[in-house]
Amino acid sequence: MSLEEFTKNIIETDLLVIGGGTAGCPLAAKAAEQGLSVLMVEKSNTERSGNIAHGIDGYGVFPHGISIQELIPMWSERMTKRNQGAGRNVDENIDYMIFKNEWWAVEELERMGIPMKWDDGDYYWTPHMIHGKGLKLGLRVHWHDVKPKMARMCAERGVKTLNRVMIIDILTHNGAVSGATAFNTRTGEFILIKARAIAMATGMYCRLFDPETPLIWKYKMRYHYNPATCSGDGWAAAYRAGAGLAHMDDASWALRIRDDITNSYGNFVNNDGILAKQYYWNGKPASPYHANTYVGNREAEGLGLTPIYQSLENLPDDFQKRLEVNFLDERMVSLKLAADRGFNPRSHRYEMMSYKPLQMMMVQGISVDEHFQSRHLKGLFAVGDCAAGVGGAYGACTSGLIVGAEIDKYISGAAEPVLNEEKINESYERAYAPTKVKDGTEPMEMESAVRFICERYIGSFKSEGKLLEGIRRFNSLKREFLPELMAPNPHYQMRALEVKNIMELAELHLHGCLNRKETRGNYVRLDYPEVDNSRIDRLTINRIENGVPIAEKFLVPALKPEYVEALKQL
């Protein structure tokens, strides 16, 4: 098709927000208040989309009862030492920016109609995972219906929202973003967007490893932090356009619960010194730390001490009641599903799938500075889970609002967007090629193959032999079946593009793990059991430079002197 044919369906906007979830909605609403024209595209419907589609119980970590000065190193130490090496918090300057603006963000959300207080008119604080003794850093919110409110908040401010529209690619001109290609997942209509700036808010990349069910691909179960809609579309599009992705050689993990009621890892209230969870091995209580430790699970399996159970049964009655409110706020249907099976969540011991932890991409994302601008692609901003170093509802809302408030400064200086015909054709081909294939491979079958390869050959315990075999299988799958990917209707066209994005990122992960020769935190290379000192304080950034994919070790920045000084003034 020619540019003229394409441009019949062109939408022009100052700001394009991709993804209308926890970060995208506040960003779009705030930017619209600055007088910008804002277009928000969402693959689902902003009324119920993203990680908090069905609600959430915790807003996240807050500098409450502690100074920001104390909180930043505490937060970053938890992530860097205990967990992931230079981990989720890849940049203390980002932490600074978020913690400093959190109260402002809460006030902004309240002003825009998002309730943060409880019915009695007060904030409700709970200990967060990183809490020290007596510290209540977590803001507990009643957010079972926050998404419809966020959608309304955007509509009232004149944000133009396109639901059921999936982004294909970001278009660039002279090293800056100039627009995007997209299509409607119900009608199949191709959409071209011209924009001066793009804010990526597509959440994280969740569909890399096996889903949480005995069957490989059918009937995915909802899991915490892993909404099934998040297939890394934003990361893949940003990567193709030249933005850097941080930490693609790492993955987080948590224990799966066999019979879903909630997650085993997360913002669970643990009040007044009472353990919110008790783990049982072989009928005996075990320390949560040990049961939650990766190697510990492996040992337990080898020693015949499994199953491991998670249980709430020894908690006092009032505590149980509070947990039930958590379930209702987070995912109401979980209590109903438990009741259907005759489980009483108060007394039932939920089996942990200790032999097969849930793997996810939580620490990774588009590499951004503390103003949430891509370090490599001009005009691209990334917020929420989509950005590396930003996490949780607190990070998503706050980063979204910061960008929404500041982005008019960038846009007023941005060049007139110019669209590149060749790139549009390439992008069209990416999304529409599967619609022409007959008797090919279904997207879900392809996805299950990719996820099985990643689970089996990257897995929890890595080694060169496994990774090389994984790469070999991945390459032959890609060669033989990717051209055959079939999409008989627009719905499957969406799934097919998702699979392509999943595969693009899975490939980065496979090669990243092969090249990362060390064991640190949860990253276990059985053939390299030592920490690689050259990687301390560094993270890997994958990006495409002049058409060539490169991986570079990036020095994690220290807190800037002006921020250190500003903290002293607080």
């Binding site: 689902s44 079972h144 995915k220 179960m221 909404p227 809609t229 019979d259 879900m444």
Partner: protein, 66 residues
């Protein structure tokens, strides 16, 4: 079957069809009722179950989750 719609209770308000994050439903223009078309993609988030004004939707674990 994970998602079941009780067509006697359903008033055809399109809520479930509009909000489902995975777009599991399609719209039957003849009966003016939603249809569970991509049931294998359901991730049991419970949004349709929660938001249905007539409680016409039931969500149950399939056998594969036992």
């Amino acid at each position: 079957m994970i998602v079941k719609i009780d067509n006697d209770k359903c008033i055809g308000c399109k809520k479930c069809y509009n909000i489902c994050p995975m777009d599991v439903f399609t719209w039957n223009t003849e009966t003016k009722k939603p249809k569970v078309t991509y049931e294998e993609e359901c991730w049991m988030c419970g949004c349709c179950w929660m938001d249905c004004p007539k409680r016409a939707i039931d969500i149950k674990y399939p056998a594969s989750l036992y």
